[in-house]
Symmetry: C2
Subunit: 511 residues, 2 copies
């Protein structure tokens, strides 16, 4: 057995590890089943099943909670915690104990009564948000948001933190991440994004994107998505492409069952870029070590690292001239209207930069500004530096200042995202993903000097193989910052994103 293989395997000869693993695998099965219920719900569950499904989910969640708080599991994990520092244990052992202990602690730190109150609160908050956005009624939503912020603060206090209460929330989605780190990483991103946007706006240059919108058949879009996913190496033997209102990737037992969805729109790139984005998430989880199946290690290292891969395949590769040089004919075959559009015009349109109000429709330059705004606001809310009543005005002020536009309504402003109805601390991982993604992309281009030529020749398998070997296979074994350093040779560094986005803008706009 090679050293690399040893690192990927568990030390089953230690009976504490094998006993813990058995318990962990069973709760892993239940969590996979829970994921399948989500898949089912979002891809076709009858509307009338809502109430009974609620009961079924509650019963299963209760069992999962029971299993994660099992005292025997806790005892085993606490015994193993110091021991796996010893060199004779594998990185996989360490990862297993770390992630399982984290799950055990997350499940035990929150009092049962708080969890139940929170869960009821989340359901009501979601309903209130849907209604408030529909009616453009922030005042109606304000007391609900106020209460949710109270819960998030309380949750932060249960979990604990050193410097900043918001650190405890960041840590839920990105283990180890702190406000200090985010501030350091986001400042340069904010700078480069605002300055590029200003430059584009001042140049008066625009990009024609009109041909991207039209009556493009759903079946053809579906087939096109499947072809592109297949071409980037998504394995349909272990995957499933379906349709849902909001695209997502979901594992029902990674790496053997990793599913994704896309959606259709008159703006044709919606479906294919969503497929490539979710495809990036899918390649990551399909690439985790088979030894990790049924454990918490068979996942992305964090939301930020996960997003780095969806962004890399969607944007760095999926919006590149090289990629479309090989793939564009599929679009032209599916849609005759594109036969009069050359690939350069198509790629340019895919990379159009334009201030807009809606985050999910934003381009690569403005996207991070949408995130920075949300991060700054929720950090201030959690730390009591901003009140809910002041929020809509603060939101609009930041949009004016960073993007040069002001929402025409709260529905298109402060009420646009669902996220605050289920948590705070999540948004920063999106921009973190862009930063990590650019850094990993730069590493890849350094490793493969003929990167563009190979991609333009229709080959992306060398990219997938390298990412599998260096990143995907490890799953959640390493902490996100350690993993980025392992893969790229240095700590997270925004220089790569700055360089990437500046070069792209210069190319598209001819600066």
């Amino acid at each position: 057995m090679s050293i690399e293989q040893q690192k990927l395997g568990f030390t089953l000869s230690d009976t504490r590890i094998s006993e813990a693993l058995k318990l962990i695998q069973e709760v892993g099965d239940l969590e996979a089943i829970r994921a399948m219920m989500d898949w089912d719900q979002q891809t076709g569950m009858p509307h009338g099943a809502g109430a009974v499904r609620g009961d079924q989910v509650a019963t299963l969640q209760g069992l999962i909670h029971e299993r994660w708080t099992d005292s025997r599991l806790g005892q085993l994990l606490q015994e193993l915690a110091p021991i796996v520092q010893q060199p004779e244990y594998s990185d996989a052992d360490r990862g297993l104990v770390r992630t399982s202990l984290r799950a055990y602690e997350q499940a035990t730190k929150l009092p049962r009564a708080f969890v139940e109150e929170l869960e009821r609160g989340l359901v009501l908050a979601h309903e209130a948000w849907v209604k408030a956005r529909r009616d453009n009624d922030f005042a109606g939503y304000a007391p609900v948001l106020e209460r949710m912020i109270g819960y998030y603060r309380e949750m932060a206090d249960y979990y604990g933190y050193k410097d900043n209460r918001y650190d405890a929330l960041l840590d839920i989605y990105e283990p180890g991440l702190t406000v200090q780190q985010v501030d350091e990483l986001f400042e340069p991103v904010k700078e480069v994004s605002t300055s590029l946007l200003k430059r584009i706006q001042q140049s008066g240059k625009t990009v024609d994107t009109s041909f991207l919108t039209g009556e493009y058949g759903k079946d053809q879009q579906r087939d096109l998505c499947a072809v592109l996913l297949n071409n980037i190496g998504y394995d349909f033997e272990r995957g499933w492409l379906a349709i849902s209102a909001h695209p997502f990737t979901l594992s029902v037992g990674a790496p053997f069952d990793v599913r994704l969805t896309t959606r259709y729109d008159r703006y044709m790139p919606t479906s294919i870029m969503a497929a490539l984005h979710e495809g990036g998430h899918g390649l990551y989880e399909q690439g985790t070590s088979p030894a990790f199946v049924r454990t918490p290690l068979a996942n992305g290292a964090s939301l930020g690292v996960h997003e780095s891969q969806s962004r890399l395949w969607e944007n760095a590769i999926g919006r590149s001239a090289a990629f479309w040089q090989a793939q564009y004919h599929h679009i032209q075959e599916a849609f005759p209207a594109f036969r009069d559009i050359d690939v350069k015009t198509f790629v340019r349109a895919l990379n159009n930069v334009e201030s807009s109000l809606i985050r999910v429709e934003a381009d690569e330059v403005t996207y991070n500004l949408h995130i920075v705004i949300r991060y700054e606001l929720e950090k201030a809310l959690i730390n009591g530096e901003l009140s809910v009543n002041e929020l809509p005005q603060a939101w609009n002020d930041k949009y004016r200042s960073y993007l040069g536009i002001v929402p025409d309504s709260d529905a298109n402003g402060v009420l646009q995202d669902v996220h605050w109805t289920f948590g705070m601390g999540y948004f920063p991982t999106y921009t973190l993903g862009n930063v990590y993604g650019a850094q990993i992309y730069a590493t890849l281009r350094r490793e493969f000097p003929d990167f563009d030529a190979r991609v333009a020749g229709g080959d992306t398998s060398f990219v997938l193989n390298w990412l599998r070997d260096h990143l995907y296979v490890h799953g959640v074994t390493y902490l996100p910052r350690d993993l980025i350093e392992r893969v790229t040779g240095e700590a997270p560094n925004t220089e790569y994103f700055k360089k990437y986005i500046t070069e792209k803008v210069n190319k598209v706009y001819g600066f």
Copy 2:
């Protein structure tokens, strides 16, 4: 509250009932989730997920078994067993205690070691059967079947029986059913079926069915199935129509989530008749009382009663001239080739009778002969009156004697059905369904003297409403024979099937 409503509700003021109900509902949730996993597996689960899915199913099954054998639940049910005979309790209470006690006893009567051995055996038996059928190799399958029969005998001994070991197996699928009852019901069915078949064969009359096979588009067939299902009252707000290799109906929380599938074939009626058949099962479960959700009462009373409803909607209604008088234009609109075929010719073709080797493709006359053959053989196998080595010859002899044809191979003979890889005692419920179905259909026609006229006018809602009120709403509250008597006013009686099938043959063949 009316008397009828009281009968449908549980007596929650008895804390033993409310406590038992809570435990039963939780295991009901887990069983619904188990059903969802089957749905997922048969409608699109990636092939590569097989192994991890096996682990997930095993974990969930273990929990379900744990819950059904919970000693507190057993204690409550045993306390309740005599008490619910008292008149102040409702029929729903009695049904709940009876079905739950049955599930508890079924779960506790089989030793854990036997269940585990059996489960491994079932997996191996299925694999061996697939291989044997593919290779037309009965000899290779014989030792496996021998072992399975050993398991079924052992299972019968654990469950217990009075007169005939096979009674214990019948009871699994049709509570209370005995060999004596089956023999009494099947003899007249065998007689009428063989004599009608002989008469048709001797008449030399044939029916043209050639136009039913051709290149009929899948999408159109799918839409047609959805229209027909909608027209018979299947509720898509609480349902889902999908595609699978073998059509089935499955509840993920009846009556609020009852799904079904169909399949496509060049023989066009395959998809629509399967949809009407599964639709009948679906109407039944969608019609169970909402009060029964999450309990074992939200189901059909037995496999036989369930099949009576699929057969009633598929055959008695779905192959009738009256039904197609109203619905045929949908077929003509979907497939222009049918515009030259009149509805009479179409209905006649749907009712063609012809000896064939394959049970699942059989018409209404020969179908029961396929079942009788299987019933007679498996009863003899279980009781040691026939050996596995003698089985292929016995099979062929019976086909010659009852259907006048002999299988060209064991693959199309004794190896054609999957059933013996998962149990024995199941087949008789199919013919039982035809007998019950004809009796209920006769009751309906007596209740509604203008039955044909209303159906021909496009209305079947009066049928559905009557069946809901008299049959569907009760779910598993009553034992099957009691239920049939309640609904039709008399004990199961084959005269109705004899009359129904004779009239149909006379009409189609002009006798």
